[in-house]
Symmetry: C2
Subunit: 550 residues, 2 copies
Amino acid sequence: MKHIVIVGGVAGGASAAARLRRMDEKVSITLLERGPYISFANCGLPYHIGGEIIERDKLLVQTVEQFSKRFNVNVCVGHEVLSIDPEHHLVEVANGDEQYSLTYDKLLLSPGAQAILPNISGIDDPRVLVLRSLPDMDLIIARLRQIRPNVPIGVLGGGFIGLEVAEALRRLNLPVILIEAQSQVMSSLDPEMAVPVHQHLLEHGVELHLNRSLSRIHSLHDGLQLEYNNSQSVKVGMLICAVGVKAESQLAEEAGLELGINGTIKVNEYLQTSHSDIYAVGDAVQTYDWVLNHPVHLPLAGPANRQGRLAADNMLGHKRRFRGVQKTAICRVFDLSVGAVGVNEKTLKETDVDYQKVYIHSNHHAGYFPGASTIHLKLLYLKENGQILGAQATGKEGVDKRIDVLALALQARMNVYDLEELELCYAPPYGSAKDPLNQAGFVAANCLRGDDDMIYSEYVKDFVGQIVDIRDPEELKAGIISDSINIPLDSLRERASELDPTQAVLIYCQVGLRGHVASCMLRQLGFRVVNLAGGYCTYQDWVETLQEES
Amino acid sequence: MKHIVIVGGVAGGASAAARLRRMDEKVSITLLERGPYISFANCGLPYHIGGEIIERDKLLVQTVEQFSKRFNVNVCVGHEVLSIDPEHHLVEVANGDEQYSLTYDKLLLSPGAQAILPNISGIDDPRVLVLRSLPDMDLIIARLRQIRPNVPIGVLGGGFIGLEVAEALRRLNLPVILIEAQSQVMSSLDPEMAVPVHQHLLEHGVELHLNRSLSRIHSLHDGLQLEYNNSQSVKVGMLICAVGVKAESQLAEEAGLELGINGTIKVNEYLQTSHSDIYAVGDAVQTYDWVLNHPVHLPLAGPANRQGRLAADNMLGHKRRFRGVQKTAICRVFDLSVGAVGVNEKTLKETDVDYQKVYIHSNHHAGYFPGASTIHLKLLYLKENGQILGAQATGKEGVDKRIDVLALALQARMNVYDLEELELCYAPPYGSAKDPLNQAGFVAANCLRGDDDMIYSEYVKDFVGQIVDIRDPEELKAGIISDSINIPLDSLRERASELDPTQAVLIYCQVGLRGHVASCMLRQLGFRVVNLAGGYCTYQDWVETLQEES
Ligand SMILES: Cc1cc2nc3c(=O)[nH]c(=O)nc-3n(C[C@H](O)[C@H](O)[C@H](O)COP(=O)(O)OP(=O)(O)OC[C@H]3O[C@@H](n4cnc5c(N)ncnc54)[C@H](O)[C@@H]3O)c2cc1C
Ligand SMILES: Cc1cc2nc3c(=O)[nH]c(=O)nc-3n(C[C@H](O)[C@H](O)[C@H](O)COP(=O)(O)OP(=O)(O)OC[C@H]3O[C@@H](n4cnc5c(N)ncnc54)[C@H](O)[C@@H]3O)c2cc1C
Ligand SMILES: CC(C)(COP(=O)(O)OP(=O)(O)OC[C@H]1O[C@@H](n2cnc3c(N)ncnc32)[C@H](O)[C@@H]1OP(=O)(O)O)[C@@H](O)C(=O)NCCC(=O)NCCS
Ligand SMILES: CC(C)(COP(=O)(O)OP(=O)(O)OC[C@H]1O[C@@H](n2cnc3c(N)ncnc32)[C@H](O)[C@@H]1OP(=O)(O)O)[C@@H](O)C(=O)NCCC(=O)NCCS
């Protein structure tokens, strides 16, 4: 009888075991998990800390007992695989003080990743914690009970786990300092798109320390003194590190398996490692970003689950391809949803891809229906043919929907002309007859067809010509671009003669829509015109960005 | 100078006028609207009746003044086009008592549709009303103030407008009788998918009269006596008719333009009528259902808006194709969202298309995160290659997102194997690592690959063999399929010997997931097995459906 051994019993490992059993009632399956639990909801950990998921048991999607019984799998928790011998198809396992070896016909590695700890002095203080597993969570909760309520807690890292932890702590009414080495949180976003997230964090009482690298930690009797490399320092009660993860690839490496980028395990499209009887999935492996055609490490639960299912099929003799990833991701930050898919502009700038971008600030549903809130969307596409490259969005409602639709548009290799034609469901509580995604398609297609011409905020400072603010006078209180003159859109036609036809015109409004109307008008009246992409709204985010970067 | 005349100033007409002006500053544009308003939010009317949209002014997306000024369009409200003379490029217009004729170079018809009134005696009673325009709405609101609060109001027709009106009236705490000739509301749904909608309506105090055709209306001094063709009758204070719309095509017909199905105006893919200088868009025209390759009348705002934009371009000399429709639609019914896209099974049954279907009843987001609610999803696809044909969904949250993603999947001609690989955004508040749409893909792909075999609820009565309910004993209280035996999934492996291997086995659980696990297991133990599609949940809806149909 064929024997399959699985290392790691959570997203990738447990999914693979379940699928294996469904596809083959006879194969013998051993699941080795070094921790005390299998199938737990890693993604739920921050929400239990914050008290939103009240019962800890909810995090245990399957217990060892249920899982073994239902799927007839030999589940061994507390069993750590110490080494692999690919040649003899053996793994060496430790269970407490006991050690034994186990043979396999096929081996699946789904050992996940470990939280990275920066290599600085003081990092080994027991008040420096990470969040990866249930025991990690339990420890954080226990420590939170011990600390004094007025001492802030430091969260190191503004990625999605850092942000979720910061929110959880604020829910407990604890003071929080979020420390980030970059000038922005959520590195999947471009910097100007992160500005609303920063504002939202501040509004919710998170103290934001951007551009701060931690250089050392001093252990005090009542807390930690965090020293930044700009020689400032700050005192916290404890520090939760969320600066990213590192693939658990030591086992693989020691077994001579080929590694990929950032110490990931290298697998082919069938999720096979360099040894054909060893498969690997999940946070531990290198995967493939098909949008830019390059290897990538994407430690997320969706791919891990789907890879586990696929690897199971392949270990049973099928040949099913994993298609690669396009990096769809989302994070809730208090009341804000922050989502992204595909490539961002930061990354595109490092390539020679000829791209364009549009910004949309649209109501998430019909404006006349109560409760409409703004979605801020950035869309990137190929200049050559409009093929969609990536998108980012923030907003209180409807962000996940738009990112998911764009995820499909990417998967289907669609272009901006396809977005113009999107037939999405519309009733006032859900969207608009022209959905924000239709609008994004319209704007992009207008640029590509030459029906309008855009200027991006970052180039406004270099613009030579007349800057015309076409908003209504009362809108200017919120701020203007310097050296602009105000001619409200509805009087532009009659006042166009006030403009100098020999000079270029930069038009802007609040979001770009009225600017488009004005820009079309003036162009046909003989002016050279550009419309400010995303209007004053995007411009402000850029101004903020440049400040944060400097 | 080219002169373009537009008939109808709302979704299609106003969108076209705005786009025309953006694309051509010089062209002269006249917009003729017989009603008192342009650019109003038809779709918002029911919500103002129900008091959800409080200010009536919110429904006026653009006023005549704003619009004429911004877009330099000659907007004439209260001007009705009486006839078209295509040969002489003339329209005859009435403005009150005045009448005049107007020449055009290009003419755009966007006259919309009118509410259908059944041709029965008593229909002309002034207490029989329809809802199409702002004046219609004003009249309904005025009448509601006059009627006695305890007399129920009749709503005729269970389409989306009927349902929205019924909900609006319930919000005002008025008793409502919803009358529908078919055995189900929302004809875009298949009957079993409408069952949760019926339940929800009843829970919200709507009295549902299904299978009731209205045969005559008796005018009483204090209300209306509605007589059904089953000779029952019911008394209401007033009756709002929402039994569908009829294209406003009389003008076109009288002008000799070719008509399409159901009295719509026939247009080609460039939205040109049979007379090349006359274009038509919106509720008045026939469009094309590309999924089943047949002409269709789809009176919805999204297509009307997009067609208006496209027709504008084409009238200016471009040649941009309207790609046809796939019938994406959604309706809010109290707390329930009801959405559909593509073809339904009722329609497929009338074709020779070889299709399959799956049912999913999944949490809209991670089950361990508070607030998860069930999405009921039905997916239809080609048996030959898995190409998606259509989908329907109901649920309290996340329905619009799944329908929109499937709308894109349809638009991109994707198949169920593509759904298996969907990379949607996942964090606990938004979805699951295996999204309901992934699950739908898994289940469908399992069937197509022969990894599982399904039986549909409607065939259970014909099944010969053993029926095994694999739910846990406490789940059976909610009902069982008769003649089934109960062997809980987790003891099935050891108790399989209790089953007769010479007889087929029908497995069912609550939604189909555990049934899949059981069915895979038994099949490999040598049994002939089928798993009940959608489990007991779908089965119950079918039982209910058959009762309503009989
Ligand atoms: C706090 C937090 C929040 C998250 N939120 C999200 C989110 O919102 N969305 C999202 O997509 N993803 C999220 N993730 C990421 C997601 O949880 C992972 O992508 C996913 O769990 C990866 O699955 P895996 O099977 O590769 O690894 P894991 O789920 O980490 O499982 C690996 C298991 O292998 C075990 N193991 C390792 N080495 C050995 C060994 N030598 N012997 C035996 N056992 C071993 C480990 O103990 C571990 O239990 C989150 C992660 C965390 C920590
Ligand atoms: C109550 C209600 C709720 C709705 N809800 C939704 C929804 O949630 N989602 C959705 O997608 N759709 C919805 N719709 C449908 C949507 O409003 C229509 O699809 C859309 O308005 C059609 O646009 P149109 O330009 O073709 O016609 P209309 O918007 O109806 O405009 C046609 C205009 O032409 C004028 N006209 C007609 N004949 C003449 C003439 N001879 N001379 C001058 N003027 C003329 C009419 O007075 C009318 O104002 C709803 C409709 C109603 C009534
Ligand atoms: C709990 C766990 C073991 C479940 O694995 P699983 O059994 O593969 O997954 P599910 O319970 O979602 O079931 C999916 C199966 O049910 C089937 N299914 C789902 N709905 C169905 C329905 N209505 N009818 C028939 N079959 C259905 C699917 O086709 C799939 O089977 P397949 O893979 O053979 O095609 C695994 O997901 C896990 O460990 N999760 C927790 C860890 C984790 O993911 N962490 C990160 C996120 S917090
Ligand atoms: C109000 C109405 C006249 C507006 O028509 P419109 O000007 O074409 O539509 P919008 O205001 O949405 O503007 C869309 C335009 O702005 C552009 N735009 C949108 N956002 C933009 C941005 N951020 N930057 C630049 N341009 C932008 C679009 O590209 C599009 O221009 P295009 O058609 O030239 O490509 C019309 O929609 C209407 O009458 N609506 C009410 C009636 C109705 O639809 N009823 C049924 C539903 S309730």
